[in-house]
């Protein structure tokens, strides 16, 4: 048992249990259509949590992901929007828009990272304030430029990410896979862990600590932008409000997966399982017509249990 608890697959195993637990009560739960729903539904969370995982591994935290979603959603829509978009109708609108969305994410990440790595500001406060600022900025942008809080009528080429589920899925899976390879197989990956373990030792051992830290936040920003692309396409609207309520789930999913908030410990794969678990749970309860506040409570309890299990894991499996 403790072997299983210690293994990578533990959370996946939990997913299985949840699945088995719900199946008998709600037949719809196991229908392919519903499972497909869960998959599509969890993609933005997956991307966000993956980006967050890298930041957590460096011992930081990025609260600004939701703000990034809103901002890059608005930016993208402003570029390609059919009504007042700068490039409306032009064939290059869609690629340019997506590029600018990713750029937005990268820039915000760069700003966060720079403040944290080079100005030595606490990540929590930096990303807290940038959240406030950039979500405010996105509302302001939409208001000033198109005088409305959200932008509709986006080019169909872009909406494909929403209408063709497999496209969104492909994008998310590829991105996640890349993140996994980066973390598990490349130099930067090892450096991220090292910085999370001990920045001073890392610096003295020739790790470009500042650069690595900034990299993590840029990465998180870009992944938030990817999530923004999915949400914007699914809802066919560029809006500052997208994903506003996701933050807690993002951190929750990473933690449930087993990533440590103290840095140095975590895997993309764990996070994938964490996301799956949260989504299965949410969807199942929803189908059982469980009232909304009960779902919130259960989520909290799950995070608690996951954290407890993690303590248990480190105690009994890694040994004292």
């Amino acid at each position: 048992m403790s072997n299983l608890v210690g293994s990578d697959l533990f959370v996946l195993f939990l997913c299985g249990i949840t699945f088995a637990a719900f199946a008998p009560f709600t037949p719809i739960f196991v229908t392919p259509a519903n499972l497909a729903n869960i998959l599509i539904g969890c993609l933005p969370l997956l991307l966000l949590a993956t980006g967050q995982t890298l930041v957590l591994i460096t011992g930081g935290i990025d609260l600004s992901v939701t703000a990034i979603i809103g901002l890059s959603s608005v930016v993208g829509a402003l570029v390609m929007g059919g009504d007042q978009g700068w490039l409306q109708g032009s064939p290059i609108a869609m690629p340019v828009a997506m590029a600018s969305m990713l750029a937005t994410g990268a820039l915000v990440g760069l700003f966060n990272g720079a403040c944290i790595a080079w100005l030595r500001m606490p990540a929590f406060m930096v990303t807290l304030t940038t959240t406030m600022f950039f979500s405010g900025l996105s509302v302001w942008l939409a208001k000033k430029v198109v005088n409305s809080e959200s932008i509709y009528n986006l080019p169909p080429a872009f909406l494909a990410f929403g209408t063709h589920a497999w496209l969104a899925l492909l994008m998310a899976v590829i991105a996640t896979l890349l993140a996994h390879l980066l973390l598990a197989r490349t130099l930067l990956g090892r450096w991220l862990y090292a910085v999370g373990h001990n920045p001073r030792t890392s610096l003295i051992s020739g790790v470009p600590v500042g650069g690595v830290t900034v990299g993590a936040y840029v990465f998180s920003g870009v992944f938030a932008a990817l999530a923004s692309i999915l949400l914007t396409a699914q809802l066919e609207t560029g809006s500052p409000n997208h994903g506003k309520t996701l933050l807690l789930d993002v951190i929750g999913a990473a933690v449930i997966g087993g990533t440590s908030l103290f840095g140095g410990k975590g895997k993309v794969l764990w996070t994938v399982y964490g996301v799956l678990f949260l989504s299965l749970l949410g969807n199942g309860l929803n189908l059982l017509n469980v009232s909304d506040f009960l779902i919130t409570i259960v989520k909290g309890a799950v995070i608690l249990v996951a954290a407890l299990l993690d303590v248990w894991r480190t105690k009994f499996v890694r040994g004292p």
Binding site: L188, A194, T201, I204, G206, G264
Partner: protein
């Protein structure tokens, strides 16, 4: 072997023991770490406790401190049976510890550190007397009493500082004294000094020794744990030698010599702590230029940093082991940090094999510079990471394939494997084990191995053997020579003059951020070297 508690009651000790270890046994997971250790610590005696790491010293002290309980045998304090369950029990029994790594809180004032656990409190009128000012009374700090009592304690350890000074403003030596003052404050009758001198400069050590003898004469029983055998022989009245949990020697200090202690500790005649150099000592640096093929590995020219170091110039030849001596705070470590690019350098040039060294540590490492810092735990290791990860850290870039920088794990693992054997890392430890779980010696070997993997052209070692047992020490010396014989230049910083004299081809002495002397192996003279380090004291 006279291992009964009576052996110290011979005429040499005229006082009855205050602390008595009576056939103490302790085992972890069936492995015996203490095998019936028995001795006593007399009132007004300093007992030196020596032994390699893992000999059982710390276990013994943990028993005394109440962090562990013995499996068999009895502890007696003041002829009372004594079975502590918590560090507070030890405090109440009048036993105080001064640990290797200090336990002061830099963000608090000296006074607050001294009385953290039992602040003098405002007490309602009526009750009186200093004793019940503590613990009893309102939960309200009596600032006046606190200040007065603190001043008194500081006076006893010979510090005249305002008790409101924040500890973060004190140099290591003064912090050490504050620790002792704290022990006195808990009016301790027995004092355990665990490696107290590791971070002290020589004058600070002197100050500490004088204080220790004063306390002894005031009737305080002292246990003094240290690897610096010279100090032990000078300071202690009685010695106890542990090896593998057994007491292999004990008695009044005059029965022991340095060599006997060492052989007792390691159990074999370790007649040469410093292995043989295959190649002879290096020639003078000024010759190095014109000796063909012996070009200088590291050249430092007029390096200055306001307030830190002034006008430092020297040259380290390939294959040379150069010692850097001087007092704590003379600027040795600071110089090393500047050379490695950790601290800014206002003016001057640093050349490695002729190329200028600039920029972040990363770029200097690429040029072949390596730096083993004095703070192993904070700057040398990722404690929670595995042995393999720690060892591989520096050489990761060279083991990754561009452009995506994929890592070649087979190469990394084999390299780590080779290095483990090269540094003779304890084979019990698995590659995936966290270095936190290793002994100090093995941890240091991991750090050294990490740097050796990078095949450095110049290696700077800052206090490489601090707090490490004799066996590991000579292991590290051997590795240093190996590296030098392969043609690398080695710069060794150490506070133990003995070590430098035994190890180096040449010794530079620093003082006040300047180089105050240079000695070649054939002209090593301890007095002269010390004089160069202390010179200003005579003025």
């Amino acid at each position: 072997m006279n291992s009964t508690p009576t052996h110290l009651e011979r005429p040499t000790t005229n006082n009855e023991p205050f602390i008595v270890f009576d056939h103490i046994e302790k085992a972890f997971f069936g492995v015996k770490v203490l095998k019936g250790v028995s001795f006593g610590v007399g009132v007004g005696r300093i007992v030196g406790l020596v032994g390699e790491n893992g000999a059982g010293k710390s276990t013994l002290m943990n028993l005394l401190g109440g962090n562990l309980q013995p499996d068999a045998g009895e502890l007696r304090v003041n002829d009372q049976h004594y079975a502590p369950r918590h560090s507070n029990d030890a405090r109440n029994a009048g036993i105080a510890f001064v640990h290797q790594e200090l336990n002061l809180f830099p963000n608090l004032s000296i006074a607050e550190n001294l009385y953290l656990t039992d602040f003098p409190r405002i007490r309602p009128a009526g009750t009186s007397g200093r004793a019940d000012a503590r613990r009893s009374g309102l939960p309200w700090i009596n600032r006046r009493a606190l200040r007065a009592q603190s001043v008194e304690l500081l006076r006893q350890v010979g510090l005249d500082l305002s008790p409101d000074t924040l500890v973060e403003r004190l140099p290591a030596g003064e912090r050490q004294l504050v620790e002792i003052a704290k022990a006195l404050g808990a009016n301790a009758r027995a004092l355990i000094l665990d490696e107290p001198t590791t971070s002290l400069s020589s004058p600070e050590c002197e100050r500490l020794f004088i204080l220790a003898t004063q306390l002894r004469d005031r009737g305080i029983a002292i246990i003094y744990i240290s690897h610096a055998l010279g100090d032990v022989l000078r300071l202690c009245n009685d010695l106890v030698v542990l090896r593998d949990g057994e007491m292999v020697g004990g008695g009044p200090t005059q029965d022991f010599t340095h060599d006997r202690l060492v052989s007792l500790m390691v159990g074999r005649q370790l007649n040469q702590l410093y292995p043989e150099r295959r190649s002879p000592a290096r020639p003078e640096p000024n010759e190095t230029e014109n000796v063909p093929g012996r070009k200088p590995a590291l050249q430092v020219e007029r390096v200055s940093q306001p307030g830190i170091v002034r006008d430092i110039s020297f040259s380290l030849a390939a294959g040379e082991v150069l010692g850097l001596s001087g007092l704590m705070g003379a600027g040795r470590s600071e110089l090393a940090r500047i050379l490695f690019g950790l601290d800014p350098c206002a003016s001057g040039e640093i050349r490695l094999n002729g190329e200028n060294l600039t920029g972040a540590p990363r770029r200097r490492i690429q040029r072949g510079l390596a730096f083993l810092t004095e703070d192993r735990r904070q700057e040398g290791l990722c404690l929670e990471a595995s042995i393999a990860d720690n060892m591989a850290l520096v050489t990761l870039p060279s083991n990754s394939r561009s452009p995506v920088r994929f890592l070649d794990y087979t190469r990394i693992n084999s390299a780590v494997k080779r290095m483990r054997e090269a540094v003779k890392l304890s084979p019990k430890a698995a590659d995936t084990q966290a270095v936190r779980t290793l002994s100090g010696g093995n941890q240091q070997k991991v750090v050294l191995g990490k740097w050796l993997l990078a095949k450095p052209k110049v290696l700077i070692l800052d206090e490489p053997t601090r707090g490490i047992d004799v066996g590991a020490k000579s292991e590290i010396y051997r590795l240093i020579y190996q590296l030098a014989d392969r043609g690398a230049g080695v710069l060794v910083i150490s506070s133990e003059l003995e070590e430098l004299v035994g190890l180096c081809d040449r010794i530079l002495v620093m003082r006040h951020g300047e180089i105050s002397g240079e000695f070649r192996r054939d002209s090593f003279d301890r007095e002269k070297i010390l004089a160069a380090a202390l010179h200003f004291l005579k003025k």
